[in-house]
């Protein structure tokens, strides 16, 4: 007995039971049975056809009109069968697309991954987590003889277009090695690349900085990026690290200004994306003060543990549902 015969038999049993008893149990069984039908991908017109066949067996004296009427119903149900099969096929395609996106996301990770450099004088911690599958935030470190450069960027927009755009930024930065030592010039060059190559409705904010490990100065410039924080151990205070500058890609001639901070042992540079400050909790947006408070609470830990703790706390506050890509990065001067 094949599946098809089995289903007809079972349908006949269930229908007979119902016709004899007309009780809720039989109806419940019918409902359960429909799941099995769907599992077996039996289409609606087949169900109607089984129904007709069973009725023919159970009531051999059914009138011709009744039979004709069922044929009419069958014809009508063909359209549903049509739609049902299309739905099945679209579902398969959706699964294929999802797995393709998974592959793209993991490829993006390997393309964009930046090793966190190790230097004796600095303790560095980074946490970058995408809201969806692909990350529109980007961070990058480059270690040179006497310096470490660091970039944090955020594409205005999320998802796949943002992620694709990020890959371009990475390669543009790699091709500007001469400017690496001058943050404002690097941004000016990058701005031209973005202006020429990226769709006008896509903007990129970035903070780029260079830490000189000899004199412990941090030189930086910003292009409309979320301001970071500077922690001064001597006064035990956090201050905003504003860096004036237009977002990348708006105007070809934008100029950027270079800023600098002197770091003493225990001082910290904290860079972030707006996904950190735009965390939305049940009480509204999180304030920058609250981020500072969270960092302060965890500040006695190593840099990586600080960023991890802050992320976990913010994740918890948002009920584990990230609305925007999250990137938080801490540079702490050790000696």
């Amino acid at each position: 007995m094949n599946d098809r015969d089995f289903i007809i038999d079972r349908y006949k049993d269930l229908l007979t039971t119902y016709l004899n008893g007309k009780n809720e149990t039989a109806l419940y069984k019918g409902q359960q049975f429909s799941r099995k039908l769907i599992e077996q991908q039996i289409s609606p017109e087949d169900v109607v056809s089984h129904h007709i066949n069973v009725l023919n067996e159970l009531f051999p004296d059914m009138t011709e009109e009744m039979k004709d009427a069922f044929d009419f119903l069958l014809e009508v149900m063909i359209g549903y069968g049509f739609a049902y099969r299309e739905h099945q096929s679209l579902r398969t395609r959706q699964r294929q697309l999802e797995s393709e996106i998974e592959v793209a996301a993991s490829m993006q990770q390997t393309l964009l991954i930046s090793d966190v450099p190790t230097v004796d004088s600095l303790d560095i911690g980074v946490k970058s987590v995408p809201a969806k599958k692909m990350n529109g935030d980007y961070f990058n470190f480059v270690k040179d003889d006497k310096s470490i450069s660091v970039a944090v960027a955020d594409i205005i927009g999320k998802g796949i277009p943002a992620a694709l755009c990020m890959s371009m930024i990475k390669y543009a930065m790699d091709s500007l090695p001469e400017q690496r030592m001058q943050p404002n010039l690097l941004l000016e060059n990058l701005n031209r690349v973005v202006e020429q190559n990226v769709h006008p409705n896509m903007f990129i904010t970035m903070l780029y900085g260079l830490y000189d490990t000899d004199v412990h100065k941090f030189y930086y410039a910003g292009a409309g990026h979320e301001p970071g924080f500077f922690y001064k151990a001597a006064t035990d205070e956090f201050e905003d690290m504003f860096a004036k500058g237009l977002v990348l890609g708006v105007s070809r001639t934008t100029k950027y200004k270079e800023y600098e901070k002197q770091l003493d042992p225990g001082d910290m540079i904290i860079l972030l994306s707006d996904g950190v400050t735009e965390c939305r909790t049940s009480k509204g947006f999180i304030e920058r003060d609250e981020i500072v408070a969270l960092i302060r609470e965890n500040m006695h830990k190593p840099a990586q543990e600080i960023v991890d703790s802050v992320f976990h706390e913010l994740e918890r506050l948002q009920e584990f549902e990230l609305r925007d890509d999250f990137t938080l990065l801490i540079l702490k001067r050790m000696v």
């Binding site: 017109e45 056809s49 007709i52 014809e75 063909i78 049509f82 099969r85 299309e86 739905h87 096929s89």
Partner: protein, 133 residues
């Protein structure tokens, strides 16, 4: 029974004639109710495509036999503008008439075999076969 029967499709009534012809032949060949309905639906869709996009053409039906199997073949031919991107029209969710579940991919699923051939500015030929189970 090896002769082809054809219906010219120029207006909506011709679609009904094509269906009627298909149903008669399917019945004669011994197809069950559900398959009869599937074959006529496929004919409907193909005839509608001719009527809507090509203006005129014909639907031919022929009984076929292959390795002991019997079946019915639908041949839809038109001299219309042709289909520029066949891959696109064979994609689910793409129907220019906007109808749910309709279109060529649906016809392909209703039938057992399906081939399409189209030349720009010269026309389209679709063969679709259903085998007796």
């Amino acid at each position: 029974m090896d002769i082809q029967s054809c219906v010219e499709v120029c207006n909506e009534w011709d679609i009904v004639s094509a269906r009627q012809l298909g149903r008669n032949m399917a019945k004669e060949l011994g197809f069950g109710n559900v398959d009869q309905a599937r074959i006529t639906t496929a004919i409907s869709e193909l005839a509608r495509n001719i009527y809507l996009y090509a203006g005129s053409g014909k639907i031919c039906l022929e009984p076929v036999e292959q390795m002991g199997r019997k079946g019915l073949r639908i041949i839809a031919v038109d001299n219309g503008p042709g289909i520029r991107d066949i891959r696109k029209v064979m994609e689910d969710g793409y129907t220019t008439s906007g109808g749910l579940g309709a279109g060529l991919p649906g016809v392909k699923r209703l039938m057992d075999e399906f081939t399409i051939d189209s030349t720009i500015d010269s026309g389209t030929e679709i063969l679709a076969t259903k085998w007796l189970r």
